[in-house]
Symmetry: D2
């Protein structure tokens, strides 16, 4: 079998995990990663003996060289070797890189920080896989939206969802971030939040609105969802639905999963690389009904949640699998999800 | 005019503010405050020259004496001088104190931490003032519920509210707390939250549910409310409604009110004692509609929000005013609310 | 008596407190404050009914006018009415403003954020008052340095200090700050910290070094000081020395002062405006000896600690008092320090 | 070769890492781990397919069974199979367990939370290895003391250390802790800190004192050390000394290691299990001299720092190696330290 050749551009919080994710897909080959400077992540790559080849995304390789980081070539060198790139650069850079991708006839998948216009398809592995099949440029939903849509799509396919109102309790920085932060403060964003708007773009039949509040923590957004299903669904049925979804993990307060920090600790104790978790978690004891409406709380592991849907995107764009069922199944299998 | 004689039992976070609130009511007289130990708040009272008389709530006065705190007498001495007490002791103590209050024929108002059974009436100044008129024992709603009900009651009286779903983003400790805290973690509580249940007790026509998430900050809970009104109401009408409520302050992100910390800073800059604010705040830019449903975010200044409703409770219990309109109006006037 | 006419330029965290401080000095008159935009602090001034006249520091008054803030005039108008200004603008702006102050023959006192070159004298009320007498341009030490020098100067005058090594555990943002912050992280600065360097500038006989670590809290830096005195001093003598200093407050863990948050709470409970405290605090139980060396921990209330020394600076610059003893005594008296 | 048979009692934050550490020692065999309840860590063991055998430390196995956790036997069963146990139970439990260890003639190593009396030797792999050789009961230094002594011992062996004064900026809780925490507060402990006292017990020639301040972060204590060496040592020599120590990692602010959070992120990016790091880190730019005194800042990865010294302790107690050089060398080799 010819493996699909993949490059990762931008080796930061998301880029590293994308590279690891690709490396786990037995039908893909990670050609290399590209970045611009000797960041901590690049230094960690060096300390590990360069398990991935590094390409320099800018002309000036001085900084990398002075830090003693081995470089395999320039970004354009990598682009000549790959079928598709996952672009995980800072917001706005992806749009510039697209010109290069075009030049080398390479397909590309952009992350949530880019504008929708950068891509032909705004993509979510479970919600609209088929739209991505064969597309040249895809943009993935952001971390919160990706996780949220997993849950909403799952209910929507079962009983139909009329509308949702979400409250995003957002972690304000990633572990290790010193360039941004919040200290003893909650911050309210202008409503509606982009996640609600994006959800409506991906699943147009669902009406959505929402408020986002930033909180001074570093791992795991928590979203509360108030959903009005088209058909009544009991708490027990909902629970079963969630439990059967390969990318949802149902957890219990009673078992010691008290919040986002418990999930991070658990993933570390599992020995998962970097303490990552691909699944969103839903707390069983958070599920309540009010009339027909259902309400529940989701944990979004912001650093790693989008990895599976990015793998799905490669599968769709490269026509490796033509249906949502097959595409997500392969991703789940290689990432070790149930 | 004979002033109503009031005592405050428990001089902690809430008790201090109740004492200050009573002192501002020109038709009430603060007889004194009672506590058990030389806490920082009691030491601050001493450093200020004992503006309020202190009574000792326990037999053993040694600790207070050794700290050089002047004591006017025992709690029972105070009870012989007052018409009514505001009990702001730790949860569970109020129920014990009630026996003493009965013995001296003194009315009492308990705080949200006590069980409902301690009182004849579960009280909120705006929502059910009339139920408290002439009652001997009242229990106030907790800080979150008090603020939440102000907003919901205000809409309910205008257009009727069918149901609400709330997300409480709770500050986990008060400024100065060392006995409790949370570090880099969000904590999910079993749903539905008691605030939703309490709301239904106070306004039985409204169906309510909710999820509470603790966050590591010290000033100001933020609640998002999804409400289904019985009659459609526009964003503009809702804004006007909130703006006309004496205990609601509409604020704007555009003016620099970015979150709970802005409100605390603003109250400090206003020169308010302790940086307190009696009003809940609602962000104009948080108000969104989804079909007929409305959604918005409230800030609850947890240390001071219940003070006005406690003053209302005295007015109701002592029959100082017989109606909600008159009772809340007097409170608002003496507390300097618009 | 002719009062000294004072203006405050920059009405932010420090500027507001300087204005309040000047207003308390019975031998000074606050002519007004100057700022550029309708910040929360300026809005709070308006809500209070403009207790201080506001002058606009920039040509364009549109933003202030649109916010409905009453303006008395332009900064240059204020400069024609004052003898001296306290410049509490953002770092770097003071140097630019100096040209204006020169033009109007107005003396000026700059804050710690400006470069030393802006001023003729780098000033601390207790350590080098006499150097400031009659000077035209003074720069105050920053908050940490001001508090630190109070303690070191106090020991140095008694027994001589050979050297100090300090560790500054720095609060990273002020309450209400959303433009900076740190979340679940400690941050180490390049050593030696500027506070150690500044201490040697102000008290050249003392050798000093130090390390600064930022921590995610908002009120009160804590500094640990390791000092080698020239003459041995017992813990008891040191305690007495600190207790007799009008700008040092000795506190005890045993009394409930467990950290910076206790001090903030205590100041709020005292009813101090904004919950401010002018004194640094030293924990009795933190004082330890190792051989001749002494070690102790100081709390620095970063928002308000420099106010007294700024008042001292006016007294020195305007020759209101010619000696350290007299100058600081008047400041202490009007600010209500022991 | 007969491998030394080791059991780990208490499978919490430290116990898990001890088990992993033992599993890496090619001359030891991990017989199993013991705990009492289905904690998250035990549940993670189950989800991984029980890589370690679990023994129940209490009579009642109901909770573990109901959670579906496979149990190999009771603690006493495990004790019959092992030569030595690492006891990582909660403070105080170790002393009780000691009776059992005696009963089965099993040597034991206790952690820093136990009282010194529990053991014959208060142990540190680098500072006093030889004292532990052949001992039956050893107690390890706590995480801060272990890391601190690495640095001080390293200097002491080179140039002699007369005295040290330390400031411990302590993380208040581990990632995932919900039972303790601090929010927006620094907390001062009674001085001198136990770490200074313990250092003097382990290295009696050095005089030590110190102050500990708790801060609201979860990974990595930072200690500043002021040390007076007996012989002058330059910054460059000190740097070389630190760089040559297998359990010290010299890092640079200039390379992006800005604080404890950078180190945690780096360890995650390295792919280290749980994001752990065995080395303490010392910031190159924090090293300063003041006269003969040296000052520097250390990062202590609190969850994992004691693992190497625990391995050393097994080697000493079991007489696997008779000297510090040989014992620590074997540990370092198997743990993959330089």
């Amino acid at each position: 079998m010819n493996k699909i050749k993949v490059g990762v551009v931008g080796y930061g919080v998301i880029g590293q995990r994308l590279a690891d994710g690709v490396a786990k897909q037995e039908d893909m080959e990670l050609i290399g990663v590209a970045d611009v400077a000797p960041t901590l992540s690049i230094r960690a790559l060096k300390e590990q003996g360069m398990p991935y080849d590094l390409y320099c995304s800018i002309d000036d390789t001085t900084a990398l060289e002075q830090a003693g980081i081995p470089i395999t070539g320039k970004l354009e060198d990598m682009l000549q070797k790959v079928d598709i790139v996952l672009d995980a650069t800072s917001a706005g850079i992806g749009a510039k890189n697209k010109e290069l991708y075009k030049k080398y006839g390479v397909k590309a998948i952009f992350q949530g920080g880019e504008k929708n216009e950068v891509a032909d398809v705004f993509f979510h592995g479970y919600a609209n896989y088929e739209k991505g099949v064969g597309a040249d440029y895809l943009k993935l939903t952001s971390c919160n939206t990706t996780g949220l849509i997993r849950a909403v799509d799952c209910i929507h396919r079962e009983v139909g969802v009329e509308k949702v109102a979400i409250t995003i309790i957002r972690r304000v920085a990633d572990p290790g971030d010193y360039h941004r932060g919040l200290t003893n403060a909650l911050q309210v964003d202008k409503a509606p939040s982009h996640q609600a708007v994006d959800l409506m773009t991906i699943i147009p039949e669902v009406d959505a609105t929402g408020i986002l509040v930033h909180t001074p923590v570093t791992h795991g957004h928590i979203i509360t969802v108030v959903a009005t299903p088209k058909k009544d669904i009991s708490k027990e049925e909902l629970l079963k639905l969630f439990e059967s979804h390969p990318r949802i993990r149902v957890v219990r307060l009673a078992d010691g999963f008290l919040g986002n920090a418990s999930l991070f600790r658990y993933a570390r104790d599992l020995g998962n690389k970097r303490g990552d978790m691909y699944e969103i978690a839903i707390w069983e004891e958070s599920i309540v009904k009010s009339g027909k409406d259902i309400m529940f709380a989701i944990n979004i592991p912001q650093e790693s949640v989008v990895i599976p849907e990015n793998m799905d995107a490669i599968r769709a764009a490269m026509k490796m699998q033509l249906t949502r069922e097959e595409g997500t199944k392969m991703t789940n299998q290689y990432l070790g999800m149930k």
